[in-house]
């Protein structure tokens, strides 16, 4: 029994990671109907930002791995990720705001390749920073990493606690932000009808920047969590993670924040359970991605709007 609980926990924590990234896809899609494929790269840059912060701190602290590094790394990662996302929006997407839909989509793929190669080639050029052409070990902070904690017979990986708690906090914060603040309500208004919102005095450009920034902050949290959990980061970590998170966003209903969270958790749990519950030739770790995508196809066939997505009335 504990074995299945172990696997459930693996799934939930992996799912939390997907969910944190998926929110970024969904928030941006909800506002500008753009699938920002470069979002996986923002996750990667968040992780590199956190690592860079630690490296800079280590020049003063001599490489301390005490727990108090975490909030500083988190802030550092967020600043870098948000800055990248905002610049990306300003210089790549905004000029294409009224272009045909495929133009920004292809731009997104271009930015994704650009950011990956940029980190690969130039990160190691900064004095004192490690070469990013291969995986870089991530600092293992005390308390957040280390031996598993025994909870009633369950061996719980410390990184799991961190990523699940992070998702919970971010989810509550997002709910408060979207429903209880003026900016959040403006976001809802823009997602429903940008032209009317503009007439009501909402600065649509600012709201779009906010949407990118919110997605980027959560991606940075995920980047840090991924580094702590897996012990290393590399320049192409955003590709597969971004793909899975995009899948999660579609699964949950793209454009819906709760959908992204539910979709992420579902995808993570299905992957973990497929390795465990399906016996024989079609089971096991090698088949986990197959079952995850079988589920996606089934859901898109029977519920095209996703688990929590509403049927969208086309506004055009």
């Amino acid at each position: 029994m504990t074995y299945y609980l172990d696997q459930l926990l693996n799934g939930l924590s992996l799912g939390s990671l997907y969910a944190l990234i998926a929110v970024g896809y969904t928030v941006v899609y909800g506002i500008v109907q753009l699938i920002n494929f470069a979002h996986g790269e923002i996750f990667m840059i968040g992780a590199f930002g956190a690592l860079s912060t630690w490296i800079v701190l280590s020049w003063v602290t001599g490489g301390s791995t005490a727990w108090w590094n975490l909030p500083l790394m988190l802030v550092g990662g967020m600043i870098v990720a948000v800055l990248t996302a905002v610049l990306m929006e300003r210089f790549a997407y905004r000029p294409l705001r009224n272009a045909p839909r495929l133009a920004p989509l292809i731009t997104a793929i271009g930015i994704s390749i650009f950011l990956q190669e940029f980190v690969r080639l130039f990160y190691g050029q900064i004095p004192g920073f490690p070469d990013a052409k291969a995986a870089i070990p991530f600092p293992q902070l005390e308390f957040f990493t280390g031996p598993a904690i025994d909870v009633g017979g369950l061996q719980v990986h410390r990184g799991n606690f961190f990523v699940m708690a992070a998702l919970l906090i971010c989810w509550i914060f997002l709910w408060w932000f979207v429903n209880r603040t003026a900016t959040g309500r403006a976001m809802q208004a823009v997602s429903q009808d940008p032209d009317t919102s503009r007439l009501m005095g909402i600065d649509v450009d600012r709201i779009i920047v906010v949407a990118f920034a919110v997605g980027a902050s959560l991606a940075a949290v995920a980047g840090l969590a991924s580094g702590l959990r897996y012990g290393n980061i590399d320049f192409k970590m955003g590709f597969l993670a971004g793909l899975k998170a995009f899948t999660a966003a579609v699964l949950g209903g793209i454009g819906n924040i709760n959908g992204a969270v539910v979709g992420g958790l579902t995808l993570g749990v299905v992957e973990a359970m497929a390795t465990t519950l399906i016996p024989g030739q079609f089971g096991g770790p090698a088949w986990k991605d197959v079952w995850a995508f079988v589920l996606l196809i089934l859901i898109l066939v029977f519920r095209p709007q996703g688990l929590l997505g509403a049927k969208v009335v086309d506004r055009a």
């Binding site: 074995y3 172990d6 696997q7 693996n10 799934g11 924590s13 992996l14 109907q33 699938i35 494929f37 839909r101 495929l102 989509l105 292809i106 793929i109 690969r120 052409k133 291969a134 995986a135 070990p137 990493t145 280390g146 031996p147 598993a148 061996q155 990986h157 410390r158 990184g159 991924s226 959990r229 897996y230 012990g231 290393n232 590399d234 970590m237 590709f239 597969l240 793909l243 995009f246 579609v250 793209i254 992957e271 973990a272 390795t275 465990t276 096991g284 770790p285 090698a286 986990k288 991605d289 095209p304 969208v312 086309d314 055009a316």
Partner: protein, 403 residues
Amino acid sequence: MRNKKLLGGAVALLSASLLFAGCGSRAESSASATGGTATKTAKIGVIAPLTGDLAVMGLGIKNSVDLAIKQANESGAIPGWTLELAAEDDQATPDVGANAATKLAADDDVVAVVGTLNSGVAQPVQPILNSATIAMVSPANTSPNLTQGADLSNPTRTYPNYFRTCTTDAIQGPFAAQYLFESGIKKLAVVNDKKPYGQGLAEAVAAKFKELGGEVVADETVNKDDKDFSSVIDIIKSKSPEAVYFGTEFQLAGPMSKQMGDKGLNVPLMGGDGIYDAKFIELGGREKDLATSVGAPIETLESGKSFVESYKAAGFSDGYSAYGAYAYDAANAIIASLKQSLASASDAKSARQATIDGLSSVSFDGATGKVAFDEFGDAVTKTLTVYEVTDGAWVAKQTGELK
């Protein structure tokens, strides 16, 4: 329903980007033009991953070949000729490797190639270089099929141009199984990454371990891009093995070992020469983890020490890594053969067949021990060493031959 259309377009584009993700070559050639005007030029190619996860090993190979070439040029090993390095990046990807081989085959100055690192990349490269009669000496391919054909019970040499300076999985895998069994481990879990190298090695280990009377309690696979091994670790853990053998390279094995520790599966992880790199420890390899590597530890050999010293003196920015010494020996085997084949040749291209013929009879003491090839092109040396992570570094534990 614009949104649906958009999603469809997105999925199509995404799959296209997936398709192209593996393509495109970032070729890097660092031919260093040296020497006088009267000498003719012959090139020794290198095909290895110079970028990506395995770049550490690939750059070690490239630099070591570079070192051998520089030494040969300085000592005037081949009168009237200057050797040059023509290094191509294969990104550890078969398609890119094939492109690199085609490019080198089209260069009339290329007489021989050192490479590849990955057995999976060697498969498409072998026939391309063979049809151009270019000798290929691999410092690192350990798949037995590359020399002895698909049916190992009835071995036939597939490509007469192919040689290697390292031992194969047919010896490395059983040697690991034998070491584990003799150190008292009776229950083993086996994992591989589904690449030819990892899979071949894991199968060889499992077969020998069973033959010795041990029990293989789990046989699992992971994907080569996976970062999260928690599910597979829980499966293995539920079977309570005394050790885990992981057929893969260090960039997966390091994180796997770390996650095993995090999950409380405190048994050693063992791998082949692909994890025998300092990066394995940096990425999470724990104390007591094990690796086999081909040959005796180079620090224990007189010729190995001099290789290490000249490598350090040459001031390369990357270490020689697991295969540097084998690449150095491979290059020197080629140079030894070139001494005969180039002596009477008018141009480099006409010396290609003679270079292949010459390699079969090469014999000298290299950085890794005696360098010579048997009738299949395999190295005659079958020595292996087990290394253990001790105080954050690989330390030689036992050197021997397969019984």
